[in-house]
């Protein structure tokens, strides 16, 4: 047969492979196939837990995982978990094995796709050719990969893309895709749009269609993006990234439509994360039966415990509470305590929801007792996560503890002031208690305080009292870990101190820390780049290096 040669497979005798399958026969037949292609060193894992243990101990060159791993978990979820935890180097090959009825879920995975997938039954020949191609591709794209990641130099990544495209046009689509992502990250939205449009003029491909929509959204052409995503979903009804993006748009304007869309995505690929999303939207839409069903699935599907979160149990308890199923709601809270490792965060969350349930059922004393437990466990501390804080605030309102409710809403409003989506959730706490105006007043008061804080610091600095101004902003930036504006102002002030009084290790470390903090919270905040440039200009080579944009 006149077959073209596949890329040569390198010597795999030193390759470290991990084989994950819950069925012993499959493990042994896959092991034989790996041996056939020259891989001798192969560890095995029977489930997610074993796999994570192995991967934590050792660096693998190849991970070959079955899609179905039992216990309600799958190889795609494992991949997502490993990527989120940064436990999977870009050089490691991740291959998924699926049946002929499950492959479309794997190949249309939205955010984290495996390097490739093999459909059963497959031969050693197929395994060999696929692996050779992936290794060739990873090797060819290495000059690009080294500039990707959070601390990479994105400009250099773009240059590397162009260089590899010129020398090796075989991977032009992969490189164009990376270029589009990088241009969007660099906020060069017009260029990104032009790149996607040029690609789409030649051929349609799902990622370029979604890329175009992302660029349109960034350019504030949301209507055009929505229409484009609708057409994309008509043509590619299984492309999950299109659902995710469209759902994000709809969540801002029409939560009922957003819920319907996520339900459609759930039919394409059932995942714990999408069940949770449907549950949350259904709760907001007061569709409590559906919310209960979705959260129940999220809780019950995952028997491994790696994928469910406090939110799933809290959501399930609240959806039951809203339907008057008090005993079931309380049982859910109890079960929540048995499903996670004990922590103050867990205690606060459990006790807050428990207090809400008792309040709703008219059990005042029990509500107050649970609320006390939540507050005693540190529930009003700034370190508490937003969902927990808001549930605690709701519990305070329901149990008549006005003082704590106001304090919590004030603190989170100060912290999340720049984040419109989070602020909408903050506003909802008082609104749901039928006291929208009171909530709005607290939020407005907090906004004014923040403006006053910034203005006072600026005035002090202008009057020459840099130290006092810096102390004020330092305190605020350290307290408000989610307020980008405060962090950025604290960084700029630290740099001004350097300019006026000379630099010190401490000042540069502080400026660096605040810039990184501001960028983490909101990479698009105005004047961030000015601050980064100023830092780069002033900082000596011994100071912490600034990740380039």
């Amino acid at each position: 047969m006149a077959l073209q040669e596949s890329p040569q497979l390198p010597d795999l005798s030193k390759y470290q492979a991990l084989l994950i399958d819950d069925i012993p026969e499959m493990r042994s037949s896959s092991r034989i196939q790996l041996n056939d292609i020259g891989i001798q060193q192969c560890d095995t894992a029977r489930n997610i837990k074993e796999a994570i243990d192995r991967i934590s101990e050792k660096r693998y060159d190849l991970i070959l995982s079955d899609y179905n791993l039992g216990q309600g978990a799958d190889g795609q979820q494992l991949l997502e978990l490993l990527r989120r935890r940064n436990q999977l180097p870009l050089t490691t090959v991740y291959l998924l094995i699926t049946g002929e009825t499950g492959y479309e879920q794997v190949s249309t995975a939205a955010e984290y796709a495996p390097d490739d997938y093999l459909i059963k039954p497959y031969t050693s020949y197929t395994l060999h050719t696929r692996l050779a191609r992936i290794i060739d591709k990873k090797q060819t794209l290495k000059p690009v990969y080294q500039h990707l990641g959070p601390s990479g130099n994105k400009q250099k990544a773009l240059e590397a893309c162009d260089a590899v495209m010129a020398s090796n046009p075989r991977y032009i689509l992969d490189l164009t895709r990376i270029k589009g992502d990088v241009l969007l990250e660099l906020k060069r939205f017009d260029e990104a749009l032009a790149l996607y449009q040029a690609m789409l003029a030649q051929r349609s491909t799902p990622w370029a269609e979604v890329g175009k929509a992302r660029a349109l959204i960034a350019l504030e052409k949301e209507e055009e993006a929505t229409a484009h995503l609708n057409r994309t979903l008509d043509a590619y009804p299984n492309y999950l990234a299109a659902y995710d993006l469209q759902a994000k748009l709809l969540e801002k304007t029409d939560k009922v439509a957003a819920q319907k869309l996520v339900e459609r995505a759930l039919k394409v690929a059932p995942s714990t994360q999408r069940q949770r999303q449907v549950g949350s939207l259904a709760l907001e839409n007061k569709d409590f039966t559906r919310a209960e069903e979705a959260f129940k699935r999220a809780v019950e599907k995952d028997k491994t415990g790696f994928f469910k979160s406090h939110d799933d149990y809290a959501g399930l308890a609240k959806s039951r509470m809203e339907q008057g199923k008090v005993d079931e709601a309380l049982a859910t809270i109890k079960e929540m305590g048995q499903s996670f490792r004990p922590s103050p965060e867990l205690t606060v969350r459990q006790a807050s929801v428990e207090s809400l349930i008792h309040s709703k059922a008219g059990n005042e004393a029990a509500a107050k007792a649970a609320l006390k437990k939540a507050l005693d466990a540190g529930g009003s501390a700034a370190s508490t996560d937003l969902s927990t804080s808001l549930e605690l605030a709701s519990a305070c309102l329901a149990a008549g503890d006005e003082e704590h409710a106001q304090q919590i809403i004030h603190d989170v409003a100060a912290d999340f002031q720049d984040n419109a989506a989070m602020m909408a959730r903050v506003q909802a706490v008082y609104a749901e208690a039928g006291r929208e105006e009171e909530g709005a007043a607290i939020i407005e008061q907090t906004r004014k305080e923040m403006i006053a804080l910034n203005n006072n610091a600026v005035a002090m600095a202008q009057a020459g009292d840099l130290d006092k101004a810096a102390a004020m902003l330092d305190e605020a930036a350290n307290r408000l870990q989610n307020n980008a504006q405060i962090a950025l102002n604290a960084a700029i002030l630290a740099l001004r101190c350097v300019q006026q009084k000379g630099g010190s290790d401490e000042l540069f470390a502080k400026a660096h820390r605040y810039i990184v903090q501001a960028r983490r919270i909101n990479p698009n905040i105005a004047r961030l780049e000015d601050a980064m440039r100023l830092y780069a200009k002033l900082a000596p080579s011994t100071a912490p290096a600034m990740p380039t944009l």
Partner: protein, 211 residues
Amino acid sequence: MNPLVANTIHDIKNTMQVLVSALNQAQHENPSQDLSQALDATVRVGAQLVELLAIYRADQANLRLAIADHDLIDFCNDVCGELLLPKGQAERVKVDVSQAAMLGAWAFDAYQVKMTLQDALRNALRHSDGVVSLTVAPEPGGGIRFTVRDQGPGFPADILEGEQGTMQGSGSGLGLTFARLIAMHHNTPDGRSGRVELRNDDGALFSLVLP
């Protein structure tokens, strides 16, 4: 189709896959003409069952395609390399990827398109002698065209006239129905769709055009 029938087909298909693996292993260890023919027949039955299930899923509005980019040289090589043909047949298949490098990669469902083209290749091998070729080329006006060409007597007139039938000669017509279904499920946001074309030109030409 009755769900019981569909479930049964699914079970038989899985059993056939076990059989394919066993025969493949046996052929690997002790090659023989009989094993080779048994393997060929089993692969064909397995493929037909997969096609039947796809048609069932389409009826239930549940046929899900996974559209992603695939390098066309690699893909054409896979289509032919994974055919599992009996001895003497594999040598008759030629792949022409001379235009594939220019096209690079294209977005389509590799699994279903592979099934379609392998079915067309097996049909062509069965109904002709001599070389059977698979080519891919750009389609004027946008899209790509896969063509399977043989040197046999060509498609019968009733097939060319569009009546439901087999790709060639007698049979159930499953292959062509499946091919048209898969073509039809390939769409683009600007409203273009895939299609199947059959014609005769010193042999039979089966084309799958994807948008």
